[in-house]
């Protein structure tokens, strides 16, 4: 039976990017459906009635919501190709911990940087850089967070790079000068086709953020 895989997504979403990268890593063909978040499709509302959010992965009609859950689902189903999680339970737990850390820190702090001003923004920038430095420490001398192989934590984290130009412009700081090892890791990831083909141009993301800021009234 041929698998039917659909991804409900929104092009600048780092969460959607995680699933795009995973599907590419596994060589899975899928239908990409762009959602208009101001006019959500009936399929989206039906597939994710609880959160009404993208991304949603739909496999043979069954929806899986929450990006890291969808990534693990793909790993569980297509387990024979390109494993993305370590086989040892302790290292798997570590990978899950760091992916969870990315969710708790990078997205929220990044968002604070481009939506706030003054002291609040300064505090967010400081915490954001600290988080990246901690991640750099975790990376150490490894090629990827997964070691020699690109894996779960790399997938969880690399999409946020597309938002760095927006963070840097509105936050008035330079991430590479603060965290050069982090950017070096990003560049290694971008050499992989599964990553470069799944990520939008950071300039386009920056323009998108300019638009939203106007729309929500941040000068």
């Amino acid at each position: 039976m041929a698998d039917e895989v659909v991804l409900l997504d929104f092009w600048p979403s780092p969460f959607g990017m995680r699933i795009r990268i995973t599907l590419a890593e596994k060589g899975i063909k899928y239908e990409y459906k762009e959602e208009d978040l101001r006019n959500k499709s009936p399929l989206l509302l039906q597939s994710n009635p609880v959160h009404k959010k993208i991304p949603v992965l739909i496999h043979n009609g069954k929806p899986i919501c929450e990006s890291l859950i969808a990534v693990q689902y793909i790993e569980d189903v297509w387990s024979n190709r390109n494993p993305l999680l370590p086989s040892d339970p302790y290292h798997r737990a570590q990978a899950r911990f760091w992916a969870d850390y990315v969710d708790k820190k990078v997205y929220d702090l990044g968002r604070k940087i481009w939506t706030s001003k003054g002291e609040e923004q300064e505090a967010a920038k400081k915490e954001f850089v600290e988080a990246l430095k901690l991640l750099e420490e975790q990376l150490g001398d490894k090629t990827y967070f997964g070691g020699d192989n690109f894996g779960f934590v790399d997938i969880a984290l690399v999409p946020f790079y597309t938002w760095f130009k927006a963070y840097e412009t509105f936050g008035n700081f330079n991430i590479e000068s603060e965290c050069p090892k982090f950017i070096a890791w990003v560049k290694r990831c971008l050499q992989k086709e599964s990553v470069s083909k799944s990520l939008p141009d950071p300039h386009k993301v920056y323009e998108f953020v300019v638009e939203i800021r106007k729309r929500i009234g941040i000068e």
């Binding site: 609880v50 859950i69 689902y73 189903v77 339970p89 302790y90 737990a93 911990f97 969870d100």
Partner: protein, 226 residues
């Protein structure tokens, strides 16, 4: 069963619903462990050594390897001490659903009930109550069997433990009435089944102490807000 050479430690507090998740999971697997009770206002050196990043409980230490974040720990326990009492479903789609609902409890229900009971601002508390009821409604709809895990308890039941025991204690302490049996008949029944499950029953904190703790917390917040 834990083999003789395995050393398992759990760092937590007697009242922590997150630590209880870990303890219940170990109980289900028949794993023996030593419990280290923490005073969260004066964290031990060991705790800070094992969880330097978040400095929180619970921490599971297995043969000197530390694991943190209760849901991550539950998956680890299930993978290491697998076999006959699985906590997560085997089938990938059901596993994904179990992960979704566990995350829902942590991302939506937990912050909502904290807001409903312990926000300084009255409007925030009212908003929190609305959000808690919304979260409970989703869970009420999701519950189709005796437990979220089906006939036996699973990761979602363990994650939802707060609703069965801590929520009623909070309601009594601060004067909330959210988990009513007419609005949530399934969750109500589930709460009884869950707290009476042998692995859960022996791991519950004393209700009076919990109520007293929440009363004190509520009082200090109300006082501070004046």
């Amino acid at each position: 069963m834990a083999k003789v050479y395995e050393v398992v430690k759990v760092f937590g507090t007697v009242g922590s619903p997150f630590a209880k998740r870990v303890q219940i999971a170990l109980e289900l697997k028949g794993v023996q462990y030593t419990f280290f009770e923490e005073d969260l206002r004066n964290k031990s050196e060991l705790l800070l050594k094992y969880n330097p990043i978040h400095k929180k409980v619970p921490v599971l230490v297995h043969n000197e390897k530390a694991l943190v974040e209760s849901l991550v720990i539950l998956e680890y326990i299930d993978e290491v001490w697998g076999s006959d009492q699985p906590i997560l479903p085997q089938q990938p789609y059901h596993k994904a659903l179990a992960r979704f609902w566990s995350k829902f409890i942590d991302d939506k229900y937990m912050p909502a009930i904290t807001k409903a009971a312990f926000s300084a601002n009255k409007e925030e508390r009212e908003k929190g109550s609305e959000e808690t009821v919304e979260a409970l409604e989703h869970l009420e709809n999701e519950l189709k069997d005796k437990f979220f895990g089906g006939e036996s308890i699973g990761v979602v039941d363990i994650a939802a433990g707060h609703i069965a025991f801590w929520l009623p204690a909070i309601e009594e302490a601060v004067g909330l009435k959210l988990l009513t049996s007419d609005k949530f008949p399934k969750l109500h029944k589930w709460g009884h089944e869950y707290t009476n499950h042998p692995a859960v029953k022996k791991n519950l904190p004393q209700r009076e102490r919990l109520v007293a703790f929440f009363k004190a917390r509520y009082a200090s917040i109300i006082t501070a807000s004046k």
